[in-house]
Subunit: 143 residues, 2 copies
DNA sequence: ACCTATTATTAGTCAAGACTAACTTTGCAA
DNA sequence: TTGCAAAGTTAGTCTTGACTAATAATAGGT
């Protein structure tokens, strides 16, 4: 047995980092569905070349990732055609968009400049728990 | 020429995501030097098994990562011995520790519970720019 | 001193996410 | 209508970060 003493918060910490690794795995997915939704709204469709330009990666990388997204049920696509969100993908995109907006508005409310708020939100949004997001919402509201 | 119109903020966005990917690449490095520093302070030395337990990964993974850290000049190690920070590693650990503390204190000041503040800080700390960190510091101070 | 448990290492595998280079398809303009 | 540039795809490679399984070293207890 190992329930004697030496790993009380060790296990907690391990859980934190495991969660963190899982969060990272879904970051790319979230960034993609979020951008695909934005492109559909603003351009009418999401083309691989636009994703590649926005993310700063090659079309080949976009292709790989879109295949994974398709495998995981977030998007549909046909060769040489544009990319569509499934219901699951659209739902995720909506969640992400909301979180993204709250984080951005929060940083702005805190006095961070617009460019930096946008850039930092992109990184922070994936690591904000429900509780922290509520705290952000609250701060924006009572400000 | 491509300086006519359609990619004004497309390029900005690409830069944001490129920076983000680079940030991610250094996250593991930062987490390791931070924890190694903590272990040296609290236990007197940093053993692979402790890192494995805290991160929730196998010893084999720690070994791989420590080799990379050694290759990149952050730590030194000898087979079957504990791990030491180089000056470069120690300097990075100091920076990370400060950032980590500020983020944690900020979340606490915002009313987030201790556990969640700790967990979220672990994810957020790697994505906070100097400007945002200042805003956090400021908030803590004037609170 | 030696055995055994803990710790560390090595070898081999896998998925994600990136790349280049070569190829194919599409669709628009002349 | 065809021909070429833009867009998309495929194949092959690399690094990181994870794993398991097998092996090796160390160190503590008797």
């Amino acid at each position: 047995m190992t329930d004697t003493a030496p790993l009380p918060d060790e296990a907690d910490q391990a859980r934190t980092f495991t969660r963190l690794r899982e969060a990272h795995a879904s970051e790319v997915t979230e960034d993609y569905v979020e951008l695909i939704a934005d492109l559909i709204d603003s351009e009418g469709e999401a083309r691989a070349v636009a994703l590649a330009n926005r993310f700063g990666v090659t079309p080949a990388t976009v292709n790989n990732t879109v295949k994974r997204l398709e495998r995981d049920g977030y998007v549909t696509s046909r060769p040489y055609r544009s990319i569509f969100l499934t219901d699951k993908g659209r739902a995720l995109a909506e969640d992400c968009r909301e979180r993204h907006q709250i984080v951005t508005q929060f940083l702005l409310a805190l006095g961070v400049s617009a460019d930096v708020a946008e850039a930092d939100a992109e990184g922070i949004e994936h690591h904000v728990s429900a509780e922290t997001l509520d705290a952000f919402r609250n701060f924006i509201a009572t400000k």
